[in-house]
């Protein structure tokens, strides 16, 4: 979604947060919502089943160079 309507963003914040944001705030929310679409399309380029959050520690150790110590 390239554009996320400001009014929809305001409705969304009100529904999820219990407070209706000011117009400037709703515009920011809408902008962030639109930009997130781009991020998702890139980071989900491949299967999400090949990694898990718990693997970060193991990945970092596997990539370390013992000569750095």
């Amino acid at each position: 979604m390239k554009h996320f309507p400001t009014e929809l963003a305001a409705d969304y914040v009100e529904a999820t947060h219990g407070r209706r944001p000011a117009e400037a705030q709703a515009e920011r929310v809408a902008r962030v919502a639109a930009s997130m679409r781009k991020t998702l399309s890139v980071t989900a380029e491949a299967s999400l089943f090949d990694t898990e959050p718990d693997q970060l520690q193991a990945t970092l150790i596997a990539l370390a160079d013992p000569e750095d110590q």
Binding site: V13, E27, T39, L40, A46, L60, I61, D68
Partner: protein, 470 residues
């Protein structure tokens, strides 16, 4: 003779250990400097003279008894006001936690205590570590000792300002998107964001539990290395802390040799749109490293087109998870910048967050394998433009805030998502008289190598020998 507070951290520790001067002498020198400077710089949230002098007297008595001396014995430090000490107020730079007294002590503080450090007080910071400039609506903007009209960088603003102004010998900060490296660069200091998992976060205010790092700021590479060596390593109280062996960081700064090392500069992203004055300064820094025997190589950067946005869904959602109850119940107690930033994160879908978290190890692996086969250490600017003034960046919740945030942190936040270590290195001064810095980035757990390169560059230049005028 130079004032005691002008000494390096390691020289101060050596002086106390040898009996050349006492910890009380050191502490009084720092307290005097802090009292003189703090009205101008606003770097302390709480200056605890009584507690600091009591700690210094204890340190001197312990030495007199012939007790074992730690590597920081009797040395005054102060830290960003977000590291918990049981029973002591920890504001986190906020109104919401103005009277918060935690019932635990952060592991990093316990390790500094065990090494003999004296605590001078707590330091100013961006509210809840949410801001890269040093603004704080509750405690006032922290000011740069090189020129008080200019920003310190943030969010560890007080850590940068107080250490550069010689009010303390070093300080801890936290780095979720650049908050150690930015104030280090802005204030002319070394600042280390170590490999994610390298330093315990137990007892530290959280912002983003996937991206938060605790790191030291200090005036020399050796000082910074000593501080990291004290705080690094596995902690049973923090299951995310790594068991990977801690390196001999300080030893790496002694007689550093970088001959044959490949220093990479990015073909894309990190030097895109780099200010011309900074480009010249960074090229000069690379020439220094080349003269020391390093090989400068151009490096292809994977994921360059999305480098800036990789961590956004993670830091945004994790911060929101911590803050949304206060946002709902006490919105009036937040500063405008902080509330605006967290409110925007309400729009980030859970699927985006999970996609970013799950893809992280894969992207870390691809980036590391691609970049660190072409070079041993990547060099990149910290700030991509000369430091702005406090007034120029006082954008609060206006439309300019997102753009400002993105511009300031564009070169630092990618390495939080990538979990890689980054050492901010002082690299001279801009025409406006304010410092500039570059960061050295390496493979996971390559902090030893980064300190070696930083120390070699430091030894070949005279930047860290300069002090801001009082």
């Amino acid at each position: 003779m130079a004032a005691l507070n002008d000494l390096t951290l390691t020289a101060a520790a050596d002086g106390v250990a040898s009996g050349e001067f006492s910890s009380v002498d050191l502490t009084e020198a720092c307290l005097d400097a802090a009292r003189q400077a703090d009205e101008r710089l606003n770097c302390f949230i709480r200056l605890d003279a009584e507690g600091a002098l009591a700690g210094a007297r204890d340190a001197d008595e312990q030495r007199a008894r012939g007790g074992p001396l730690g590597p920081l014995h009797g040395v005054p430090l102060a830290h960003k006001d977000m590291f918990y000490r049981a029973g002591a107020v920890c504001t986190c730079g906020s109104k919401i936690r103005a009277n918060f007294r935690p019932d635990v002590t952060a592991t990093v503080l316990k390790r500094l205590d065990a090494a003999g450090a004296v605590t001078l007080g707590t330091l100013n910071m961006a509210e809840f570590a949410t801001g890269p400039t040093g603004h704080n609506e509750h405690y006032g903007a922290c000011r740069n000792p090189w020129h008080p009209d200019y920003i310190t960088g943030g969010s560890s603003s007080g850590s940068g300002s107080a250490t550069a102004a010689r009010l303390v010998f070093g300080a801890l900060g936290s780095d979720t998107g650049g908050s150690v490296r930015l104030p280090a660069a802005a204030c002319g200091l070394f600042g280390m964001k170590a490999t994610q998992t390298r330093v315990s976060r137990y007892g530290c205010m959280g912002l983003s539990f996937s991206l938060d790092n605790v790191g030291p700021l200090a005036r020399t590479a050796r000082d910074c290395a000593r501080l990291l060596e004290v705080i690094a390593g596995h902690d049973e109280l923090d299951s995310t802390s790594s068991r990977y062996p801690v390196g001999a960081y300080e030893a790496a700064t002694l007689e550093p040799d970088i001959r044959g090392l490949r220093i990479g500069i990015a073909k894309s992203y990190f030097r895109d749109d780099l200010d011309a004055e900074l480009r010249s300064a960074h090229d000069a820094a690379l020439a220094v490293m080349s003269s020391l025997g390093a090989e400068i190589v151009e490096v292809e950067i994977p994921f360059a087109d999305v480098m800036g946005s990789l961590g956004g869904p993670i830091s945004g959602i994790e911060a929101l998870a911590l803050h949304r109850a206060w946002m709902r119940d006490r919105p009036e107690d937040y500063g405008a910048q902080t509330l605006a930033r967290h409110t925007s994160n309400l729009a980030v879908p859970a699927a985006d967050y999970l996609a970013a978290v799950q893809s992280r190890p894969r992207i870390v692996r691809k980036f590391t394998e691609a970049v660190f086969t072409q070079c041993d250490v990547l060099q990149a600017p910290v700030f991509p433009f000369p430091l702005p003034t406090i007034d120029e960046t006082d954008v609060r919740d206006t439309q300019g805030f997102d753009a400002l945030l993105a511009r300031i942190t564009r070169n630092t936040r990618p390495f939080n998502f990538l979990a890689l270590p980054g050492l901010s290195v002082p690299a001279g001064f801009c025409r406006n008289g304010l410092p500039l810095g570059f960061q050295l980035v390496g493979r996971p757990f390559s902090e030893t190598r980064l300190f070696r390169v930083g120390a070699a560059y430091e030894a070949a230049t005279d930047w860290t020998g300069r002090a801001p005028k009082n």
